[in-house]
């Protein structure tokens, strides 16, 4: 079975880890996941009066 040929093992190992650590995580981490948008309600929200002083 050619997979058992130990000659390219180290090269494949180091190269795959190199790509796995340097190329992919920045691409994955650059994705941002914003919050789900909340739907507008038809009624205006109830406002509480301003009780405390400005300063």
């Amino acid at each position: 079975m050619p997979q058992l040929n130990p000659a390219p093992w180290l090269a494949i190992l180091t190269f795959s880890w190199l790509i796995f650590l340097t190329v992919i995580p920045p691409k994955i981490l650059a994705h941002s996941f914003p919050n789900e948008p909340t739907p507008h309600s038809t009624k205006a929200p109830k406002t509480d009066p301003w009780m405390w002083p400005w300063h």
């Binding site: 079975m1 040929n5 190269f15 790509i19 796995f20 920045p26 994955i28």
Partner: protein
């Protein structure tokens, strides 16, 4: 030299360039890096949604500590899924058929979970070696069995992926060869064999996705035990 059916798995070299390097390095051109644009294109939106949902599902059984592994596990899933799926195209090379790559991923990641468990919660980690409610007489032998099953995990993880993909590719090549050879001799049988080949290719698409998922899922389970 006469080609055998296993020669498709030899790490190919062309003009001195190891093509496995191209096979590992190029699939990421299919994943554009998102910018700070509010609305991206369809491809990016689709990938964004998939990564989000997948990571959410995968991290459900993990506690807060385990969530630190989110980026790693998501990257691993994308890595394996892309390599597996692209290998099903004609004339491509599947790097995940190489035992070196799969063991090279499985052993360090499994070892990381074990070391994390042993460092932070050694009693809890070792407690997994004895299932609750075992009769006292069976304790020594069960500890031995559980230790063996623990140590066999990385090998199983790597070899599972290798064997599944190798077997799939081998089957595809065998049945395609059969279909091709039978074409002048028994055309009807050749047509049936081609139909079988089509179904097999569909199966291999499923296997490619499932095996990538199983690898990452098992790793998350090993993490869940130890974190």
């Amino acid at each position: 030299m006469a080609l055998s059916f296993f020669d498709q798995f030899m790490s190919p070299n062309f003009l001195g360039i190891p093509l496995i390097a191209m096979a590992i390095a190029l699939p990421w051109t299919l994943y554009p890096t998102p910018s700070t644009r509010w609305l991206s294109n369809r491809l990016l939106t689709l990938q964004n949604w998939s990564i989000n949902r997948f990571t959410q599902q995968l991290l459900l059984p993990l506690n807060q500590e385990g969530h630190k592994w989110a980026a790693l596990l998501a990257s691993l899933m994308i890595f394996l899924l892309s390599l597996n799926m692209l290998g099903l195209l004609p004339y491509t090379f599947t790097p995940t058929t190489q035992l070196s790559l799969n063991l090279g991923l499985a052993v360090p990641l499994w070892l990381a979970t074990v070391i994390i468990g042993m460092r932070n919660r050694p009693t809890h980690a070792l407690g997994h070696l004895l299932p609750e409610g075992t009769p006292s007489l069976l304790i020594p032998i069960l500890i031995i069995i559980e230790t063996i099953s623990l140590l066999i995990r990385p090998i199983a993880l790597g070899v599972r992926l290798t064997a599944n993909l190798t077997a799939g590719h081998l089957l595809i090549q065998l049945i395609a060869t059969a279909s091709f050879v039978l074409l002048p001799l028994m055309p009807t049988v050749a047509v049936l064999t081609t139909a079988l080949l089509f179904l097999l290719t569909l199966l291999e698409v499923a296997v490619a996705m499932i095996q990538a998922y199983v690898f990452v899922l098992l790793l998350s389970l090993y993490l869940q035990e130890n974190v």
